[in-house]
């Protein structure tokens, strides 16, 4: 039924679909499973992958985005696209405008100039439609420390507009997806950093968003936790559009298919990881676009007051490469 399949692609987010809809139970779409939720998810995956194959469309379209805080310009003229089924890595030095860009995409704050559309909806004009499609993990996981994990997730589900009857299912789903079974009954405030990060991720996934925006999801975690979270994110990418910011270069190469390097509020590079590695490593590219400029502009000089542009560039390069290696080392440990 090609016509019907086509129609199904334009249905609202899957969580809003009635689980018992006869159309969804059609055996042509998935292998029968005893549990309803399973079959529902299986169906979601089928639809999502079909969508990739036939409609590799721009899920997120950022055009000419600028944001100023008073006289300080955080982001200026940023444009890029992200497709479904792709993870895009946001790279850049601290203060380059990563967080600002993400906050604008999620609708947390309006842009000074430019437009962002998510799944065809404008972030400013159709803010609610966009918010329903986005799961967002800010730099600090937005936890209510005095709440228990499962209660917290139920609360978020309500806020995100998950139907009352599906709240329990949704909570159970994200708890098992993010490996939170052991801590579901504990207070958020008593969790370790790694678990808080996972609860933050669970919170972002609870309404089955088509878009995931993760602001430094692996920051402050120990190497084992970093690997776990990375695996988790990798698993989520297949059916979603993921944007994640990080300072860890190998992380981008491991998780993402695409990379956007932002420096001083501008896009310095936007490319596929595959293209990149054939021409040179991500580290080299990063340093070519960011290392030298930022080292110059911040007056970073290695050692004893060398001030020439090349010297400063080299010094910055050396540091950044060292840091990248350290991080790779710790992650692989």
């Amino acid at each position: 039924m090609p016509a019907l399949r086509f129609l199904r692609l334009h249905l609202p987010p899957l969580s809003l679909l009635p689980l018992r809809s006869p159309a969804l139970r059609s055996p042509s779409l998935y292998s029968p499973s005893p549990r309803f939720l399973d079959s529902h998810l299986a169906c979601a995956k089928t639809v999502a992958s079909r969508r990739d194959a036939t409609f590799a469309q721009e899920m997120i379209d950022v055009k000419n985005l600028s944001k100023s805080y008073g006289s300080v310009t955080a982001v200026s003229g940023v444009s890029f696209q992200a497709k479904t089924g792709q993870a895009t890595g946001f790279l850049g030095p601290n203060g380059a405008g990563n967080t600002t860009t993400m906050r604008i995409i999620t609708g947390f704050m309006p842009a000074t100039e430019g437009t962002v559309t998510v799944d065809g909806f404008d972030v400013f004009d159709d803010s609610f439609e966009v918010r329903r499609r986005i799961g967002y993990l800010p730099e600090t996981p937005p936890l209510y420390l005095e709440m228990k994990v499962d209660r917290y997730l139920q609360h978020v589900a309500k806020l995100k507009g998950v139907a009352r009857k599906q709240i329990r299912q949704a909570t159970e789903r994200v708890v098992s997806e993010c490996g939170l079974e052991a801590v579901a009954g504990r207070l958020c405030g008593h969790l370790s950093k790694g678990y808080r990060q996972r609860v933050g991720l669970a919170q972002a996934l609870i309404h089955e968003p088509a878009v995931l925006i993760l602001d430094e999801p692996t920051i402050g975690l120990d190497p084992a936790q970093i690997i776990e979270i990375r695996e988790l994110i990798k698993g989520l990418t297949a059916e979603r559009t993921v944007i994640l910011s990080t300072h860890i270069l190998p992380e981008v190469a491991q998780i993402c298919q695409r990379v956007v390097i932002i420096n001083e509020g501008r896009v310095a590079l936007e490319t596929d990881i595959a293209d990149l590695t054939s021409h040179g490593s991500l580290e080299q590219e990063y340093l070519r676009h960011v290392g030298r400029d930022s080292a110059q502009s911040r007056g970073v000089t290695g050692g004893s007051g060398r001030t020439s542009a090349t010297a400063a560039g080299n010094a910055g390069e050396g540091k950044a490469v060292d840091r990248a290696r350290d991080e790779r080392g710790s992650a692989d440990a």
């Binding site: 805080y69 008073g70 906050r103 999620t106 609708g107 947390f108 704050m109 309006p110 803010s127 609610f128 918010r131 329903r132 986005i134 967002y136 800010p138 730099e139 600090t140 996981p141 937005p142 936890l143 209510y144 420390l145 005095e146 709440m147 609360h155 978020v156 309500k158 806020l159 995100k160 507009g161 919170q203």
Partner: protein, 256 residues
Amino acid sequence: MRNLLTIAWRDLRSVFVSPIAYVVLTGFLLLSGWFFFNLLGQFNRLVAQYSMLQGMDTTWLNLNDAVIGPLLQNMSTVLLIVSPMITMRSFAEERSSGTYELLFTSPLSVAEIVGGKFLAGAALVTLMLAITLVFPAVVSVYGNPEMGLIFSGYLGLYLMALSFVAVGNFTSALTSNQIIATITSLVILLLLFVINWPAEGAGETMKAVLNYLSVTEHFRNMVKGVIDTADLLYFASLTSLFLFLTHRAVEAARWK
């Protein structure tokens, strides 16, 4: 509406999970109880003294004017101090803990968020005042005060409490620091209490304006048993003005 209740319910629960609700309730009830105890004792002494004197006008010496009225006045003063502490967390804590980002990236309107926060504060204040109804209950068991007066006085106190919550929400929305929110709120409320002090020496118009702005004037009317629409309107407009300002403050913070 569902979102509004979700937010209100979470806020209320979190207040009861933390010691805040218990400390505030205990403090308020302890002070109110102390006032009630002393006013009642004083009333008893006065009755005993005046009963020995003959031919004096003692109509002013009744439970309403000598116990309930002053009690409500005293409670309003304690409320002034306590209510900023109930509302200080409402927005400031969400901001400092990062949950602000969760709220404002969820499909919730600012009005729902502000309404939910207000409702949570209002619920706690309602509970607080409801418990103090035990004082008029005690008085009416052992004496016969006028119920109408008690009703109008309590209505005044309740409306005042709601407007205090709205003021507190507003100051909390301005900052991520709870202490600053509390102090700002306290200052605004105290100013509203004493704003008509220069009214005596002021001109005719100025006097009317200052008296109209004063919370105490409107409250006093209601404690006296007068339910005037002007007073009801005053409290309603004070509450809605500050809720509106909260809404604006929350919106404005996002545009910075």
